[in-house]
């Protein structure tokens, strides 16, 4: 807390189950936390070998994916609502922290219709806008995968055994399909299917 870092449990937008996220209050940034797990591993730590322990990675993540989860849920009511009435969750009350990202308001229009009444903003989930936004995300991800030579074609056993030149044979649609799958890790299944069709 002193360092402005907070680990909180929020709903993973894909599975709906609780997952750990890191809020960096100073940087105004959200990180997802991934754990490196391999069945057989030990660690060399300084001059020793340790058989237990796990390695956690904190990776920057767009909070919009987490807010999307609540916007979609609220869409059932089919009406415009203030954001603080949408992002509510008695199972993961810390979701209100998401509203503290000033950037969020700026990007909400990617996935919502907006209305302003008496200088108060109301939002409603927009599927069309969301799909357009996600299409761009897939494009950016595909480009990043290609730039960093991630093999996307043939199945590989483990990233540690990939011979360097394998990625060169991968086709454009392999990258798009792979990027869609990767992004779907942050989407509810229904939206992932819509995006695949789109």
């Amino acid at each position: 807390m002193k360092s402005g870092l907070m680990f909180v449990k929020l709903a993973n937008p894909c599975s709906g189950e609780g997952a750990i996220y890191l809020f960096n209050v100073c940087l105004q940034q959200l990180f997802e936390i991934k754990v490196f797990k391999e069945k057989h591993h030990s660690w060399f730590i300084n001059q020793s070998v340790q058989s237990e322990g796990q390695l956690h990675f904190a990776t920057p993540m767009d909070p919009l994916f987490l807010v999307l989860h609540y916007l979609k849920k609220a869409d059932k009511e089919g009406k415009f609502q203030p954001l603080d009435q949408v992002v509510v969750d008695d199972m993961f009350p810390n979701c209100t922290l998401l509203l503290k990202f000033p950037e969020l308001e700026k990007f909400l229009h990617h996935v919502t219709e907006e209305k302003e009444i008496d200088s108060k903003k109301y939002y409603k989930y927009s599927k069309e806008k969301t799909l357009k936004w996600l299409e761009k995300k897939v494009g950016q991800t595909a480009a990043a995968l290609k730039a960093s030579h991630v093999p996307v074609g043939a199945r590989v056993q483990s990233a540690a055994f990939v011979p360097g030149d394998q990625a060169s044979g991968d086709k454009e649609e392999d990258y798009i399909c792979y990027a869609h799958g990767l992004i779907s890790e942050y989407l509810p299944k229904e939206l992932s299917d819509d995006l695949a069709k789109y």
């Binding site: 680990f7 797990k37 391999e38 890790e185």
Partner: protein, 297 residues
């Protein structure tokens, strides 16, 4: 013999060779292949070729390059020096195969056994002589594994050369004796000047003959085993002797594929019948990297 290249990196394959004598480019030549250090658990294995014009075979013989096994190390060094002096009609080339290369070949995911490694190295050296313009017409080789299969494989690989694979070739054919001397001289020198890449404390230089059944070598192995990292790379991990000492004295290590085999032995139907709704598999990007969402800290 200049082994600086080997001293710079002794973890792989190191090729050394003499210049090609002019006569060997013009006249039909005889070429002998032999090896040194096949049996020891310590140090590299060396494959060497030696060649000379057919017309100068008698001069090579006159060098008294008898069966290298009967010669002492100093006599071998002396004979090798003489061969170098007769550089105008004798040429040689050799491959030093490091213990690390031998072990990783034998223990790798795709097994590469010692006979195949030896065959391929011999073939590589004969091809190297041909590539350098030596007019090789006859090749004499000592046996490695079954003589017939080796003979047939070499003959098929070099159809327009006359290949002879024979046991005890190093005693029968002077070019094979000469190759054997090159190989032994190279191995002796490589072992003597071995650069340990590991920082070993109180390294004992006297490890006996290096053969697995030599009690001195066994004691040396036992003394230099590190429980987590095993032996220095001077040792051939794939040798039975080394493995049994590791099993007794070093930490157990479990490898991924060794357990996977056991798991694999389930019923074939288990691969097709799904038990209830199959959970949505994480994307292969994360699967391949062993990354999962953290659900607790």
């Amino acid at each position: 013999m200049d082994l600086r290249e080997l001293e710079r990196d002794n973890t792989g394959r190191c090729r050394l060779s003499s210049p090609v004598p002019a006569a060997c480019r013009q006249e039909p030549c005889v070429l002998g292949v032999d090896e040194a250090g096949r049996g020891p658990v310590l140090g590299p294995m060396v494959y060497a070729i030696c060649y000379c014009p057919l017309s100068r075979l008698a001069d090579l013989e006159a060098l008294k390059v008898a069966d290298s096994k009967t010669l002492s190390e100093s006599e071998r060094d002396r004979l090798f020096a003489k061969m170098e002096e007769d550089g105008d009609f004798v040429g040689w080339a050799l491959d030093v195969l490091s213990p690390n290369l031998i072990s990783t070949s034998m223990l790798g995911r795709v097994k590469y056994n010692l006979n195949s490694l030896s065959h391929d190295t011999a073939v590589g050296l004969v091809q190297y002589a041909l590539d350098q313009g030596v007019k090789v017409t006859q090749v004499f080789v000592d046996t490695v594994g079954l003589p017939e299969t080796y003979q047939e494989r070499l003959q098929r690989r070099f159809p327009d050369l006359e290949v002879t694979v024979k046991a005890k070739a190093d005693a029968l054919f002077p070019v094979v004796s000469a190759a054997s001397i090159c190989a032994k001289v190279a191995r002796d020198q490589a072992v003597k000047s071995w650069q340990f890449i590991e920082e070993l404390h109180d390294l004992d230089a006297d490890y006996g003959s290096g053969y697995p059944n030599d009690p001195k070598t066994k004691a040396w192995l036992r003394k230099h085993v590190e429980p987590v990292f095993g032996f220095p790379q001077f040792v051939r991990f794939s040798w039975r002797t080394a493995q049994s000492i590791l099993e007794k004295e070093a930490e157990a290590v479990t490898w991924e594929d060794s357990t996977a085999d056991q798991e694999g032995s389930g019923k074939i139907t288990s691969y097709f019948l799904s038990e209830g709704p199959r959970p949505r598999l994480p994307h292969r990007y994360f699967l391949e990297r062993g990354l999962e969402p953290a659900t607790a800290l």
